[in-house]
């Protein structure tokens, strides 16, 4: 069995974990007699984003741990995928329009799949190279910007990014 109960869960181990979205707009996890509104945390958001998922209740306690969503029934899997889309959301950068240095910060103007965006990073905060390629930039507020394949961006974007990629 690849599903385990979190330490806070007191339900019996009988039955399978199931997930569903309810009218209150939350994802609910049911296991045995116990059910809770949960949110999903990826344990390895960049190394293995699709597996090893922690389902946490409103007190941030782990209710259940899903090693592989394939072990869930189809309805639960679909519900989980919807939750993962929100939990794993980052801006996907499609074009870099401007990178300017100012006093103590670097100002970025980019086009993302979600729309145009400007953000700032500290001068000594460098983009992070991800395990499976791609770059991840964290702005001053904590929002993340993902460049899936910087080498496949347009020429101007590549030129602007040149100093930040290996």
């Amino acid at each position: 069995m690849t599903l385990t109960l979190g330490k806070s869960a007191t339900a019996t181990r009988g039955g399978a974990l199931s997930l569903e979205w309810r009218a209150d707009g939350s994802l609910w996890a049911m296991w045995g007699e116990e059910e809770r509104a949960v949110s999903v945390r990826r344990c390895f958001p960049w190394t293995e984003p699709a597996r090893h998922l922690s389902l946490r209740d409103t007190d941030e306690e782990e209710f259940a741990f899903v090693r592989d969503p394939a072990d869930l029934d189809q309805r639960s899997r679909a519900a989980l995928e919807r939750a993962l889309a929100v939990a794993g959301f980052v801006f996907e950068v499609t074009q870099v329009l401007e990178i300017e240095e100012e006093v103590e910060i670097r100002r970025w103007r980019v086009e993302t799949q979600q729309g145009p965006r400007t953000f700032q990073t500290r001068l000594d905060d460098w983009p992070r190279t991800l395990p499976h390629g791609g770059l991840l930039i964290r702005d001053l507020a904590g929002d993340l910007y993902h460049l899936v394949a910087p080498e496949r961006l347009d020429r101007e974007s590549r030129e602007l990014l040149w100093a930040f990629v290996d």
């Binding site: 949110s39 939990a87 103590e104 400007t118 929002d143 100093a163």
Partner: protein, 755 residues
């Protein structure tokens, strides 16, 4: 509108491309729907349900919340009564957060909003107020604060990271040059010397040309007598000698004066900055990184010295030099003058472009350099772990790889500048060749006549173009670097201390030590309250134990007693006088602190014990050390009380440092003493010794002691149990243990079980 809010609005406008506040028409619409009740807080939900960027608002009023979404016909506003809200959930994600506002169980959500981390603080403010309401604690909000709180929550990460974003570059330079005012005389002299250097440098080539055309050639042609020619020639030689005799002392005066002025200005800035830093409130230090503040006092002022001593003069004189050269050359011969002067802007532009390119290369090299230093700062402090896991070889390889990488980048920089400068010089030489190309036919008699002397002057002037062109080309970078440093320095200087004395502050002489809290509320950010209506009255000489879970507000209470912050609501009185009316400096001299991690300064044991009482005689120092159980270990040290304890007292153990800090507090003889986990990080034997020392220290003073180990507070006059910002229980140890359902009893029993 306050300056702070103007700055926040400016930041939002410039850096986020989102509205600086709730649109006025929407605000009116919401307040109309609420029968005129004001919007007290609001936040922007910038993601829609399919996670695309959007603009929607959540507003909070005294009795309602409203969610507004833009539709083709205008704003669609949905209001919900706050009384219907029964739960609120926030699900944080990597970049998308979801706030769900719930009514009765099983019913659809009252509101569901998605937003990025940029908006999260604003949402947290609203969430906090609603959670308070759900828990039955009404939170009074000041009407009219909504814009300020929204702007602050969005702008704050940028404001904290960047220095004085509102300052224009020219204004900053002007302000910086203002620091030269006190040295006007020296500056005038230095600038005059620099001007002399520039102008006299133009003389020798002119003299050479003049000598050839007016003396040598006429003498050779026999139109000027040899005696007359010799006389003029020697005069010219004397003039040349005079030029150099004037120039070199001027060089000396300029270098010496400008370096000294630069040092003076840097000294003034450093002193002003350091003095100002000492006066700033703790809130400022929690926002800024220590390293960044140290850099401002050291490296930034040093960079400003360089700019003021040399940058300003170099740039202005290079402009004068280029203008002078251009004028002289065009006057001598306008055709050749044009050949020489027209390419100058092109050279300046090329140097500018090159410095841009070099900057890009440096960014890449710095990034790789930071990877090298990452390995160093990881493995050198963590060398025991590296060795314990036998990872030396792996670390060597990791370092080697990054070292190779950064070397390649630095070599790329060297390749760039070593290619550029010879090419640029080739360009300058080509300018000389061009002068020859245009001049030779004229020298040989075709076209407009060109005297040989003028030609020679031109050749000599050619060699003088290089240096000013280089300075002008680098000018943008020089000014940028200086203004960056100036921004960082001025940001600190422009920060107002949050704790300020009233016009005629009261001095309590003597302080008896009565401390009264009257409905004290406090929040670090204006919305989330850390203390919620705390009231107590402590009489002089009482020992008060502050206990309760971490984050409950214990440290905030002692910070408020020390007036590191001012209360948000209610009053703190010392001997019946409002703390805000006291002379802060005088009052703090009556306060002593012994902290969990005692801070010793680099210096001797003696200097550290005397830190708050510099004039104390040695016998009192020894008595204080004896009372603190520190005398024995100090006398065993090779240099006794004169032992240098090193940076932060690292040559002493934790228990020894603590006892020195207790001796410091005893010698300081405060009326009000704060002990913050003073014995929590030492072993049992040391704790016993420290406990003995503390018992001597607390006698006859008002003491507030924070401790997690409840056994250490048995002798307290009273214990205050602080939880979630409230005083939930108080009484003696025995009284509190007698409460069967009491929180103190529960904590005490838990600790007993652990032992």
């Amino acid at each position: 509108m306050s300056t702070q809010q103007q700055l926040d609005d400016h930041i939002i406008e410039r850096y986020t491309a989102q509205p600086t506040r709730l649109p006025a028409e929407l605000r009116r619409q919401i307040e109309h729907a609420w029968q005129g009740a004001p919007v007290q807080l609001y936040a922007l939900a910038d993601l829609d349900q399919s996670l695309r960027l959007t603009v929607a608002w959540l507003a909070l009023g005294p009795r309602h919340i409203a969610v507004a979404q833009r539709e083709s016909t205008g704003w669609h506003v949905r209001s919900v009564e706050r009384s219907r809200i029964e739960a609120i959930r926030e699900a944080p994600g990597l970049s998308a957060n979801t706030l769900t506002i719930l009514g009765a169980s099983g019913e659809p959500a009252l509101a569901l909003l998605r937003y990025t981390h940029r908006q999260r603080r604003a949402f947290e403010n609203i969430r906090f107020v609603l959670e308070e309401q759900i828990q039955g604690h009404e939170r009074e909000l000041v009407d009219g604060d909504a814009d300020r709180l929204y702007a602050e929550s969005v702008a704050r990460p940028i404001r904290d990271a960047q220095a004085l974003v509102s300052g224009r570059q020219t204004a900053v330079i002007r302000r910086l040059l203002g620091y030269l005012k006190p040295y006007r005389r020296q500056l005038t002299l230095g600038m005059a010397a620099a001007t002399v250097i520039t102008l006299v440098s133009l003389v020798p080539p002119y003299l050479a040309g003049h000598l050839i055309d007016r003396v040598v050639r006429p003498a050779q042609a026999g139109t000027l007598s040899l005696v007359q020619a010799a006389k003029v020639a020697w005069l010219a030689v004397a003039a040349m000698a005079l030029v150099y005799l004037v120039r070199q002392p001027a060089v000396h005066v300029r270098l010496r004066l400008m370096s000294i002025i630069g040092e003076w200005v840097a000294r003034d800035l450093r002193s002003e900055l350091y003095e100002h830093i000492q006066r700033l409130s703790l809130a400022f230090f929690s926002r800024k990184r220590t390293g960044s503040l140290i850099t401002r006092v050291s490296a930034d002022t040093d960079r400003l010295w360089d700019f003021l001593a040399f940058g300003v003069v170099d740039v202005s004189l290079s402009l004068v030099m280029l203008a002078g050269l251009g004028t002289v050359l065009l006057t001598l011969d306008w055709r050749l003058g044009l050949v020489m002067t027209l390419p100058v802007p092109v050279f300046c532009w090329l140097i500018y472009r090159h410095s841009e390119e070099i900057t890009r290369l440096f960014i890449r090299a710095w990034r790789k350099w930071s990877r090298v230093t990452d390995v160093l700062s990881d493995t050198i402090p963590g060398i025991r772990v590296v060795k314990a896991f036998n990872q030396e070889q792996r670390e060597i390889e990791r370092f080697g790889e990054r070292n190779e990488d950064v070397t390649a980048e630095f070599n790329r920089i060297h390749a760039s500048w070593t290619r550029f400068w010879p090419l640029l010089m080739l360009g300058v030489h080509m300018m000389t060749v061009a002068v020859w190309v245009f001049a030779v036919p004229r020298l040989l008699g075709s076209g407009a006549q060109l005297p040989v002397g003028t030609f020679v002057s031109f050749l000599l002037y050619t060699t003088m173009f290089g240096a000013p062109i280089e300075v002008i080309g680098q000018m943008a970078r020089t000014i940028n670097r200086a203004t960056t440093s100036a921004h960082r320095v001025f940001e600190v200087l422009d920060t107002e201390p949050e704790i300020r004395d009233v016009a005629e502050p009261v001095r309590l002489e003597p302080v008896h030590g009565r401390v009264t809290f009257e409905h004290v509320t406090f929040g670090y950010d204006g919305v989330r309250q850390v203390l919620r209506g705390v009231s107590f009255d402590v009489t002089p000489g009482e020992l008060i134990g502050l206990v309760g879970p971490s984050g409950g507000g214990k440290t905030t209470i002692v910070n408020l007693i020390a007036r590191f912050y001012d209360v948000s609501g209610g009053t703190i009185r010392i001997d019946g006088v409002d703390l805000r009316r006291l002379d802060t400096g005088h009052y703090r001299r009556q306060i002593g602190m012994v902290l969990q991690d005692p801070y010793l300064f680099h210096g001797t044991v003696l200097e550290n014990i005397r830190y708050g009482s510099q004039e104390a005689p040695l016998n009192q120092v020894v008595a204080a050390a004896q009372a603190a159980n520190a005398h024995d270990f100090i006398t065993k040290l090779q240099h006794g009380y004169d032992t240098v304890v090193g940076e932060r007292g690292h040559t002493l153990s934790g228990g020894e440092r603590q006892r020195v800090s207790i001796a410091r507090a005893i010698l300081h003889d405060p009326r009000i003493l704060i002990l913050d986990e003073a014995t929590s990080s030492v072993d049992t034997e040391t704790e016993r010794e420290i406990q003995q020392a503390l018992e001597r220290l607390v006698a006859g003073r008002t003491v507030f002691a924070i401790a997690h180990r409840l056994s250490t507070l048995r002798k307290a006059s009273r214990l205050f149990v602080i939880e979630d910002g409230r005083l939930i229980e108080h009484g003696t140890h025995a009284e509190l243990l007698a409460k069967p359902e009491g929180q103190y009893r529960h904590l005490y029993e838990l600790q007993l079980q652990l032992q």
